[in-house]
């Protein structure tokens, strides 16, 4: 259809190469901000660890067994919330200032830009969890039933959990205006944390059956229960198959919505 002769280009980059360059940019930027990143994403879980995993057991308000239920929950919270925030917060600002434009002009589908953001969110979620795990263990002392022997299950839950929340972060990042950014913390993160089986196992909700089924809409439940099932398999937890199934579905769901919303925001 065009008579324009192909100009000489230094081998036009494919989508993979563009993706890699975008990822490299985010890695460079995030490495510089690593201390702030860790402070932002892990301080809160660590404070909870100190109060619920160290002080309260010392005061004998909760039994030692509580640490076993709490540890995977705290880890789930760090993993999920850092994944989400790492995608959402910069994106809200980038859309408001149009600073994403140089990446939207990259010679690849707009989706590549969005998928790279999800990938970066996953990496940041995993980094936060890897930082919190040893510190929490140090604060809480020995934890009954904790084992790292189910490596594949741990990795699968962590990866899918981070993917679910990164994709959710993409959706929120495209849907929220800078003026509403406080809402993320009060209206979304708050309920997600408190009704996400972070501080108690899902099976404990047998005591309040309505809650037991109502909390199933909360994606955090599956991350927390999945980590319970893989880190403390001897203790009561939701079935791992159900957890993995739910996380796959949720990731697909949030990805579909997030990508669509991202494209709408990117192209007027």
């Amino acid at each position: 259809m065009s008579a324009i002769p192909e100009k000489v280009h230094a081998a036009p980059p494919g989508a993979g190469k563009v993706f890699y360059a975008l990822l490299l940019r985010d890695l460079v930027v995030n490495r510089r901000e690593l201390p702030y990143f860790l402070l932002r994403t892990t301080l809160q879980p660590l404070l909870f660890t100190i109060v619920f995993g160290f002080l309260l057991p010392r005061m004998s308000f909760v039994g030692r067994a509580y640490s076993s239920a709490l540890m995977p929950g705290i880890l789930a919270m760090s993993l999920a919330l850092s994944s989400m925030q790492s995608v959402t917060l910069p994106m809200v600002i980038d859309f408001a200032t149009n600073a994403l434009e140089d990446r939207l002009l990259a010679p690849a589908s707009i989706r590549v830009v969005a998928l790279e953001k999800i990938a970066m969110g996953i990496l940041q979620g995993l980094a936060a969890a890897l930082f919190v795990l040893p510190v929490a263990r140090l604060v809480m002392g020995p934890i009954d039933g904790l084992t790292l022997s189910h490596g594949i299950e741990i990795a699968a839950v962590a990866l899918l959990g981070a993917a679910t929340f990164s994709a959710l972060g993409l959706l929120l990042g495209t849907a929220i205006s800078p003026q509403q950014i406080g809402l993320i913390f009060s209206a979304i993160i708050g309920p997600m944390m408190f009704f996400g089986c972070v501080y108690y196992p899902w099976t404990g909700l047998d005591a309040v059956p309505v809650m037991k089924y109502a909390v199933l809409v909360n994606p955090m439940v599956y991350v927390a229960e999945g980590l319970r099932g893989s880190l403390t398999p001897a203790l009561p937890h939701m079935s791992l198959a159900a957890v993995l199934g739910a996380l796959v579905l949720l990731t697909a769901f949030f990805c579909a919505l997030g990508l669509r919303s991202f494209e709408r925001r990117s192209i007027a």
């Binding site: 259809m1 065009s2 008579a3 324009i4 100009k7 280009h9 230094a10 081998a11 036009p12 980059p13 190469k17 563009v18 360059a21 975008l22 490299l24 940019r25 460079v28 930027v29 510089r32 200032t97 149009n98 600073a99 434009e101 140089d102 990446r103 939207l104 002009l105 990259a106 010679p107 690849a108 589908s109 990117s266 192209i267 007027a268």
Partner: protein
Amino acid sequence: MGLVTAAVKTTQLRKIYPAPSSKRSPAGKPPAASGGAGAKRPGVVALDGLDLEIAEGELFGLLGPNGAGKTTTIGILTTRVRPTSGNAVVAGADVTREAVLVRRRIGVVPQRPNPDRNLNARENLVFHAAYFGIPLRTANARARELLEKLGIVDKGESKVDQLSGGQQQRLMLARALIHQPEILFLDEPTVGLDPHGRLAVWELLREQHQQGRTIVMSTHNMEEADRLGDRLGIVDHGKLLAVDSPDKLKARAPGGTLIQLSLDGEASAVVPLAGALPGVSRAEANNATLLAYSDRGGELIPALIRAAEQSGRTVKDIHLSPPSLETLFISMTGRKLD
């Protein structure tokens, strides 16, 4: 069409933005559409059937007032705005169906600098080059060369927030050129620049033009359009009103000097008397402004003032423009450029 290949070709390009919600609407937008086929609520018509053809190697200027549709046109041509209907082909690729191919071949300078604030000036260039698959060493060398040409080489390692607005705008130009695009798009590139920065940009654009690069820029600066453009397109209300070389356009300007009288009331009352004055080739009213084209330059001012007073109007201000793109523009659109 013709022997010269088109770098840009649009056919009946229309863009209707959804009606702004209760939030404030962008200033100076053209009136709302009266609900096209299937439209439930009226939107804002930014482009209303724009046909444009720009040849390879041309330096083309889109001239028009704010809200004329210049930014939307550039937005569509650079794949950042989806046309409502019609089509546009850039560097041989369709902007909607082959957006990736288009992006591969263009460089874009936005209206307001939008650098990546997490990177320093040099990194802004090097990473942008990386998105286009350019190896680091080449990118660094080109970045240095561009920063030097634009007089900001000493700012290479500075955070972009430490650059002035004009320096940031020049950084945007460097960013648009680092991957050596076939076509360079600039949306009002010199708006925030001081005279010195403006000259540096013009210089660089001329140089790029001489090297054969196609350049499409929008502007509402007459001088810029006049001095730089091979051809100019005059746009208003989303339509192309005229397209030609600056000299030919100026030759089309209605005869003589344009005298504009600002009155204390509707100017139409003065038109019959003013139009009958010897030496006035044409007189028209635009609300409270009387536009009179004079064959005798400013000599007719006293007679025009008398005509206004005889028609019961008081003259509050007088503006004189020699025949120029500006007088042509005013005669075509009824309003000034800025």
